[in-house]
Symmetry: C2
Subunit: 332 residues, 2 copies
DNA sequence: TCCCGTATTGAACACGTGTGCAATATAGGC
DNA sequence: GCCTATATTGCACACGTGTTCAATACGGGA
């Protein structure tokens, strides 16, 4: 191939500049011992030749590749896409590159992450709700810098950042109850998903604080379609709830559609609320009342934790709990 | 750090198995010359030790890293997220890994792609609508395997896959006109965006085929919010259009919201159509009539072109035009 | 038993860079 | 002008792998 023939290496630059190859390397290394004017000359000649240090080789020699693995289950759902956007932006802002791991069957995840470590990533940010405990422990044991987002594993020594799901649910329940809603139904997500576990627990606790119990409980898959189907079932039952709380916004959007399809007024006849505050929640036909999952701050904190962990692998593990904010719109 | 201390290399495996390091390398190389039973023994010892070839080192020595750069402008918008999902899935299915480049100011893109090439990616799939012609030419000249998605640059020798935007617009116009709509307004995107250029040109051509001209032309930014604002302006003007064609689905969703806000019936008083068929287009409150941009096939074709280009850098360049499919829902 | 062709093997080199160490240049103080 | 502390520099090695090439083992036919 032509490619390798045209590739310009540090050696070429050194020759052109009449210096040693080490000098070229040092010119590109922040804080290395080299005369300022010589560095300038080398840099200018390098850019003239179109030279750029080969990060692969650099990663082999030094111990840093500048790669950060982003472990996602799926990217297409609104919340994940949103989070991914912020994370990749944050990573780029720190001069690193995101290596994306996504879209594989859940079971394959463990193997995939191990595989990714063979790329010598400096660290990984895991946003997949379904990483196995075993994998997390293995990583922790391996000493690989890892930050979990939206998930906390008790007893596993891992940094994590996660919004206070229980607090969010408490705010929602308080809002609904204070408006006189007492027949509150719940549409949750998959039982294994951590966010769902915490949100459901928060819901139950908050309700019992008012001496209430869920009017009904149903399970969907965090999708719009799933939310709609379960809401249809709830709203056509003999005893209708007067409010539906959903485990995430997507299902809540589906629930609103279900109510409309049945000719029920939202929020007059049925109040509906979600969780996350994805962009679509603010769209005119929905105006969903929800709880804002602070994505930007989540990304920032995750990256901060990761960098601190990379710098000092022995520091005590930290769990950051972000405060969600109630967003009142029309649906409740 | 502990990490490097614990790292197990081919050398360790060779020692444990009582063979040369070359043998270990060959055991992990498909089709290399090695006795079958020896390979099995090495592989089993390797997995026992938790060894895995270091892809970074492998990329340095061989010429393949197994990395494919995905160049995106932004990831958060629905269509991009959707495409990204399919692309990353397709890449993973081929045993490679996606390296994500996104979320930088447009101008920085050229530098970013050049930077990414320093990771020795085997190739890149560029989905950013706004890659400069200069950059594309530079890549082509550099011989780096590149496939452009959703964009075609005349005169630049690059593989590309792109849906037939003009055909899509023709189908939409035909549908609208055949239903008696003659006052068709257009909300386009940024003038530089390739998809917008083609779609707008297709619209004008199709309209003129019926002896028509756009009732009005406005520009937004491919966002829901932008679409709503421009639609509000259109629908409150003295002479109202009887149909609004939008450059993409997101703007069309905004337009539907605008019509609702003004109490106009969709499609009775105003027909609205978009382009792409993002998931949200099928949501109940919208039921947007649109044209389906075949994302899965786009991803598959892009990867096919990339792999062929990697295998043979000299083959003639290919441009794949995918056929969009009209999706009739309620809004038109 | 000997010879030759073939399947395996191991040693050595290449890939492009960072970095420790000793050597050198430079400047400053006397 | 000389000596010493310091700033630069270049050499050589390390990083972990793929791959070429000569050497070796093996097996079969004469």
């Amino acid at each position: 191939m032509m490619k390798e023939h045209m590739r310009v290496t540090a050696h070429d630059v050194a020759e052109a500049a009449g210096v040693s190859r080490s000098a070229v390397s040092r010119a590109f290394t922040e804080g290395a011992s080299i005369a300022p004017e010589k560095r300038q000359r080398i840099l200018s000649i390098a850019s003239m030749l179109g030279y750029q240090p080969n990060r692969i080789a650099r990663g082999l020699s030094g111990r840093r590749t500048g790669l950060v693995a982003l472990v996602f289950g799926r990217v297409s759902s609104p919340y994940e896409a949103w989070l991914l956007d912020h994370l990749s932006q944050a990573i780029r802002a720190r001069g690193k590159w995101p290596l994306l791991l996504s879209a594989f069957p859940e079971g394959e995840l463990d193997g995939a992450l191990a595989h990714a470590l063979s790329y010598q990533v400096d660290g990984a940010i895991v946003a997949a709700g379904s990483v196995s405990r075993t994998l997390a422990e293995r990583c922790a044991a391996l000493g690989a810098p890892i930050v979990m987002v939206g998930r906390i594993l008790d007893g596993v020594a891992v940094d994590a950042v996660c919004c206070d799901n229980a607090l969010g649910m408490r705010q929602l329940v308080e809002l609904l109850v204070s408006e006189g809603r007492h027949r509150i139904a719940w549409i949750g997500g998959k039982a294994e998903a951590f966010s769902n576990v915490e949100r459901q627990a928060g819901l139950l606790e908050a309700l019992s604080g008012w001496g209430l119990e869920p009017w009904a409980r149903r399970v969907a898959d965090y999708s719009v379609e799933g939310g709609m189907l379960q809401a249809l079932a709830l709203l056509t039952a003999d005893e209708r709830p007067d409010a539906i709380l959903c485990g995430n916004d997507a299902m809540a959007l589906g629930a609103i559609s279900a109510a409309r399809r049945l000719g029920l007024g939202v929020p007059e006849e049925i109040a509906i609320a979600g969780f996350d505050d994805i962009p679509a929640a603010a769209w005119e036909p929905y105006l969903l009342t929800t709880v804002c999952n602070p994505v930007a701050e989540t990304a920032a904190q995750a990256l901060r934790l990761l960098e601190q962990r990379i710098d000092d692998g022995a520091r005590p593990h930290e769990v950051v709990r972000l405060t969600p904010r109630l967003v009142r719109r029309r649906s409740a």
